[in-house]
């Protein structure tokens, strides 16, 4: 295929035991695109996201990233993951390392930079997310919003070609959500390719090139945000958006 998309997810299915959590999920995105996965909890959004960097294993279907077969047995998952950054709902910062230590660990141990180079790179990334004054703070000394920005810097320091965001603001107090979304906005503007699971509909509407609505492990509908939000084709999408809107 010559006009292959940057990320192609085709008919991905996954089971946990007897329960099928993903049913033939398909979507694709180009370099620089922002795709947002939405859907009720338990719909398989996070599982789908994790299949892309193989923190979860898809059992059927195919995932191709930049022309490479992600699911092939010969694919080195560690190589894959150094090119795909991930930001977690629960931050998952390394508790024993300072902000700069968290961000520098990957560049030093995975990319093989010297300690000083890794530290410089970490400092740059932390400045980029507005934490240049918290370099030596430890995770337990930072607010949730600050921790999530460190988490983002940690992923960015690996210079990934794709960033995965797994409900990055869901664990945050409402007043701290803004600072994380701001960092994500900056990334979109810098042209980063991003696959995002979120309940922040206004963010999705503002930055997404495509919205994928998942329910019970199936893609119900997908399309550009204007279409999906203003004019959903499926009644299920409409109901979901109504319910989300009433909580906004």
């Amino acid at each position: 295929m010559t006009d292959e998309s940057f990320l192609e997810v085709t008919d991905v299915s996954k089971w946990y035991g007897d329960e099928q959590v993903l049913h033939d999920v398909s979507f694709e995105m180009d370099r620089g695109d922002v795709t947002v996965l939405i859907g009720p909890s338990g719909s398989g959004k996070s599982t789908m996201l994790r299949c892309v960097n193989r923190l979860a294993e898809a059992q059927e279907g195919s995932i191709r990233l930049d022309g490479e077969d992600v699911l092939a047995p010969s694919t080195d998952v560690d190589d894959l993951r150094r090119e795909v950054g991930m930001v977690f709902q629960g931050f998952n910062l390394f508790a024993h390392l300072s902000a700069v230590g968290n961000v520098a660990l990957g560049p030093q141990r995975v990319l093989g930079l010297s300690k000083a180079e890794a530290r410089d790179r970490a400092t740059d990334q932390l400045e980029r997310v507005g934490l240049g004054n918290q370099l030596d703070s430890y995770p337990a000394e930072l607010s949730g919003g600050q921790q999530q920005r460190v988490g983002t810097a940690r992923a960015l320091a690996m210079e990934p070609k794709l960033m995965l965001f797994d409900e990055p603001t869901s664990a945050l107090d409402p007043e701290l959500i803004g600072e994380v979304l701001e960092v994500m906005h900056d990334l979109v503007e810098a042209g980063m390719t991003m696959l995002v699971v979120t309940h922040e509909m206004s963010f999705a509407r503002a930055v997404a090139d495509e919205i994928v609505f998942l329910d019970a492990g199936r893609v119900v509908e997908r399309g550009p945000p204007e279409q999906l939000f203003e004019n959903p084709e499926k009644e299920r999408t409409d109901r979901f958006l109504d319910r989300i809107a009433s909580h906004d």
């Binding site: 950054g85 024993h96 141990r109």
Partner: protein, 308 residues
């Protein structure tokens, strides 16, 4: 956030300035005990530079006479004098107790960490590790020492470089026994701590491209080993005390020396009270030392560091 972001250095200084009476007494007693212990060893190693080898720093008769003049202490003058008389032997025995304990603990640690890691993260190796741990925890330590000493007679096979380091090669047999046994216990403490490291830490490590082993090394162990310190200190303390079992394979450590004197003087109560105090001093030193280590490596904003 406000209180928690205080720099650790300020908090540490605040703790140090807390000079309660109890703390002063404890530090003074500790300084006296260690001062006497080290002075006794030096005197012996240097061939009796202060007092002849085997003699106490103060003559028992002098202590006795001095105390006899004090009304409240007159009744205790003789036992205290006797205790002073046996103090060189106590110091001599304590040296081996300390060496056996610390060397066994240290070597055992490097066996315990792989045991704990394989126990938590291994597949088939987990069973090997479990088998080792249960075998060594499940059989009497004394029996293990007997097997190594009387059964296998390992003292006869001590390699040349190690032979002669201690007055008797059986000391090496004791160190081997305590290392193997202590490793099993240490592994259990460390295993518990590793299991308390959140799953998300491993996920995050894998997500930046660290391998499983690298994630354990760079992410899990630095946290788990910190969390293990308080319970691991138990093993340190136990080992100080059960190192006395080495006496049964003729290692001349603290308990052995005490028992020898008691057998020839029949003053069991007094001798073992003094010996008990020496063990107590060693144990308190160990627990204070580990408290200091714990505070030193505490992660800012977490655990032991919080509110101290």
């Amino acid at each position: 956030m406000a209180g928690a972001t205080q720099p650790a250095a300020i908090r540490r200084r605040a703790a140090e300035s807390d000079l309660s009476v109890g703390r002063v007494l404890l530090v003074t007693a500790g300084a006296l005990f260690w001062g006497w212990l080290v002075a006794s060893w030096l005197n012996r190693w240097l061939g009796g530079v202060v007092v002849p080898v085997g003699e106490p720093f103060v003559r028992p008769a002098t202590v006795e006479t001095a105390l006899a003049t004090l009304p409240g202490l007159a009744a205790y003058a003789e036992p205290i004098g006797f205790a002073v008389g046996i103090s060189p032997e106590i110091a001599r025995g304590a040296w081996l107790t300390i060496v056996i304990t610390t060397v066994s603990l240290f070597i055992g640690f490097f066996i315990a960490v792989p045991l704990a890691v394989t126990r938590v993260y291994g597949r088939y190796s987990a069973y090997l590790s479990l088998g080792y741990t249960e075998l060594l925890r499940g059989t009497p330590l004394l029996a293990q020492l007997f097997v190594l000493h009387f059964g296998l007679n390992l003292g006869a096979y001590v390699p040349g470089a190690l032979s002669g380091v201690f007055p008797r090669n059986v000391v090496w047999v004791a160190i081997l026994g305590f290392t193997l046994n202590g490793a099993a216990y240490q592994a259990e403490y460390i295993r518990g701590a590793l299991e308390s490291v959140e799953e998300g830490q491993i996920t995050a490590g894998r997500a930046i491209g660290l391998s499983r082993v690298e994630t354990i090394y760079y992410v899990v162990l630095p946290q788990g080993l910190r969390y293990a310190i308080p319970s691991w200190t138990n093993e340190f303390i136990y080992l100080i005390k059960y190192s006395s079992l080495a006496a049964f394979i003729t290692v001349p450590e603290l308990y052995y020396r005490a028992d020898q004197i008691a057998a020839s003087t029949f003053r069991y109560t007094l001798i073992f009270a003094v010996t008990g105090l020496a063990y107590l001093a060693l144990v308190l030193t160990a627990s204070k030392l580990m408290e200091a280590v714990e505070a030193r490596v505490a992660i800012p904003g977490l655990g032991a560091d919080r509110g101290r």
